[in-house]
């Protein structure tokens, strides 16, 4: 069964008999791992300033280009200047709307993502460990996975109602797949030598799960979670486009429909910022969880 759609984010290679996770310096390395490794050289104020410059340079250039575009006469109603967008941004999100529209959205996002992570990892471990269960369930999962969550919204309205439950279900249904499938692959790829060794030493049950299986699969699990996080943000917006009366997605659609274009842009800017912040937070967590793994790889590479 091919996993090519998720493969690019999977840090470990196929299952082999060499100690896993095996180090392969040329491929399989996530860009995150690369920046992490170099970080020691970038410590100190100069390094921090450099990093900030790296982050801000391209956005500044893009905003500049866009500004120049909007500054020409007749640039149009639908492309307000960054100044107008900025004003709308401050007026909108530094007000009650933050509590009415943004916080509930983020809450649903958090709950949906957490549930997807629980279900994905739990079911993934189960499937990864048992080939027979996997053979039975996997075709169904592949089928369900191909269903775009938005088309399920009317059905979910009937089953789960029009409140938060429906919106969270949409998020969970959409972003559980990368977590689940990556966990299955990660668990399957547990090094058999390590596995046998653990068995010889009498490591079984939850200890085995904790120190061997989850640990060994964690690079893949984290890769799945990272994909799922991006999906969760998109699905948060989509779920609010149906049967809604509040939320960030609802607000953006509403602005678009009422021709409040700077406000619509301000909503999209906020979504982008949320995505950026969440991705940065995730990187921090990932650094902690996968610290051992990166150290191991660096050691293999002889650094």
């Amino acid at each position: 069964m091919s996993r090519t759609t998720l493969g690019q984010a999977q840090p470990t290679p196929e299952n082999t008999h060499t100690p896993s996770p095996k180090a392969d310096p040329t491929e399989q390395e996530s860009p995150v791992a690369r920046t992490r490794r170099r970080r020691p050289g970038n410590r100190g104020p100069a390094g921090a300033a450099l990093r900030t410059a790296h982050v801000l340079l391209l956005p500044a250039v893009l905003i500049g280009v866009y500004w120049a575009f909007t500054a020409q006469p007749g640039a149009g109603f639908y492309t307000p200047t960054p100044a107008a967008i900025g004003t709308a941004f401050v007026e909108l999100w530094f007000s009650d709307r933050f509590f009415v529209d943004v916080l509930p959205s983020l809450g649903r996002l958090a709950v949906g993502f957490a549930l997807a992570a629980l279900i994905g990892v739990g079911l993934g471990v189960l499937l990864g460990l048992d080939a027979r269960v996997r053979a039975t369930i996997e075709p169904v999962l592949e089928f369900l996975r191909a269903i775009p969550p938005p088309v399920l919204v009317p059905l979910m309205i009937m089953l789960a109602g029009i409140d938060d439950t429906m919106k969270i279900t949409v998020i969970v249904f959409g972003c559980v797949w990368p977590i689940l499938l990556n966990t299955v692959e990660g668990v399957r790829a547990v090094d058999p030598v390590l596995s046998d060794t653990a068995r010889c030493y009498g490591i079984t049950g939850t200890t085995r799960l904790r120190v061997l299986i989850l640990r060994s699969a964690s690079p893949q699990i984290m890769a799945g979670l990272r994909l799922a996080l991006a999906l969760a943000i998109i699905l948060m917006v989509i779920s609010e486009m149906f049967a809604s009366s509040s939320g960030l997605g609802f607000a953006i659609v509403q602005f678009q429909r009422t021709f409040a274009i700077p406000e619509m842009w301000a909503g999209m800017v906020l979504l982008g910022i949320i995505g950026f912040v969440l991705s940065s937070l995730f990187e921090l967590v990932e650094g902690r969880v996968l610290g051992w793994y990166r150290g191991l790889r660096a050691a293999h590479r002889g650094e």
Partner: protein, 318 residues
């Protein structure tokens, strides 16, 4: 910030691309038709324009009318502004809001008008048959579904509540597409729905009870929607628009006088069930916008906070 500038550039590129394609109008040689593109939502309301094409009211005036479908006002208005559509169809509330936001739109003719009869209009508010709700005032504290919020549906339903002696601010509105409404009503997710034909017929047929005719409560001759264009486009080619307006007026009059023809043409561009087409309540199609009803609607929009100040209707209305 990572996403937004990228989006900005993509959007600007898309806008430049659309701006590059100028209106679909070619030079008019003698005997040749002028191609005109109209943006419509393929629903019951625009039957007259399909009839007009069918009956040759546009080609008689040298116009080859192409009808392009849009999903709603928010998608169609940008098409008019960019010149992709020469004119289009939208509800009056959206037009007033657009005008207030600084989009120079102007109406050509009326589009569709309330049937004017309590309990027999082309749109209404429905509850479950065994619901405690007997009038619009009973909607206080309940949840009502409308296809779009801050638009013509919820504005006129609030007026029904007000007219019935209730407090419209105590009604919660939720956005739900028309086709999903019956299920949400039956499972008790929502207490009432506002729907227009053909969905209203389906809901009636399912045994649900109509408690208010919100358009009629607002104004018996409520102009619900209109055909409109951009001011610049109108000034560019007044003769062409005189012809378009005349063709629209003839189409509307034909639809108004021949309801059977309206039902026939509905079968050609919609997927509505034949039986529903036979049963449903048709709107009226007068060519003239009822200015007084639009004024009423504008006042309600100010009261409900859809717009901040009294709009300049003279600029919008023909």
């Amino acid at each position: 910030m990572r996403l937004s500038p990228a989006l900005a550039v993509a959007a600007s590129a898309a806008l430049l691309a659309t701006a590059a394609c100028s209106p679909s109008e070619e030079g008019t040689n003698e005997g040749e038709l002028t191609t005109v593109t109209a943006g419509v939502i393929p629903i019951v309301d625009v039957a007259p324009i399909y009839l007009g094409v069918d009956q040759g009211f546009f080609s008689d005036r040298g116009i080859d009318l192409e009808l392009e479908s849009g999903s709603g006002g928010a998608a169609i208005v940008p098409g008019v502004i960019s010149g992709e559509f020469d004119f289009a169809f939208s509800n009056v509330v959206s037009l007033i809001v657009a005008r207030e936001q600084g989009l120079p739109l102007t109406a050509l003719t009326n589009g569709v008008t309330s049937a004017g009869e309590q309990g027999a209009d082309f749109g209404g508010v429905f509850v479950l048959d065994d619901s405690d709700v007997n009038g619009a005032a009973d909607l206080e504290g309940l949840t009502v579904a409308a296809n779009n919020l801050n638009n013509i549906g919820d504005t006129t339903v609030r007026q029904s509540v007000r007219a019935d002696g209730g407090d419209p601010t105590a009604v919660d509105f939720v956005e739900l597409p028309f086709p999903d409404m019956p299920a949400a009503l039956e499972t008790g997710q929502i207490d009432a729905v506002w729907a227009v034909e053909p969905f209203a017929s389906t809901i009636r047929e399912a045994g649900h009870r109509e408690i208010a005719s919100n358009f009629v409560d607002t104004h018996p001759d409520l102009s619900v929607a209109a055909y409109f264009t951009g001011e610049d486009r109108l000034a560019q080619d007044p003769e062409l628009f005189a012809d378009i307006t005349a063709a629209l007026e003839e189409s509307l009059a034909y639809a108004e006088d021949n309801p059977d023809e309206v039902r026939r043409i509905l079968g050609t561009y919609t997927e509505i069930d034949e039986q529903v087409i036979e049963q449903m309540v048709l709107p009226r199609f007068p060519a003239q916008i009822n200015d007084e009803s639009v004024q009423t609607l504008a006042d309600l929009m100010v009261t409900d906070g859809l717009i901040d100040s009294e709009p300049d209707l003279d600029a919008l209305l023909p």
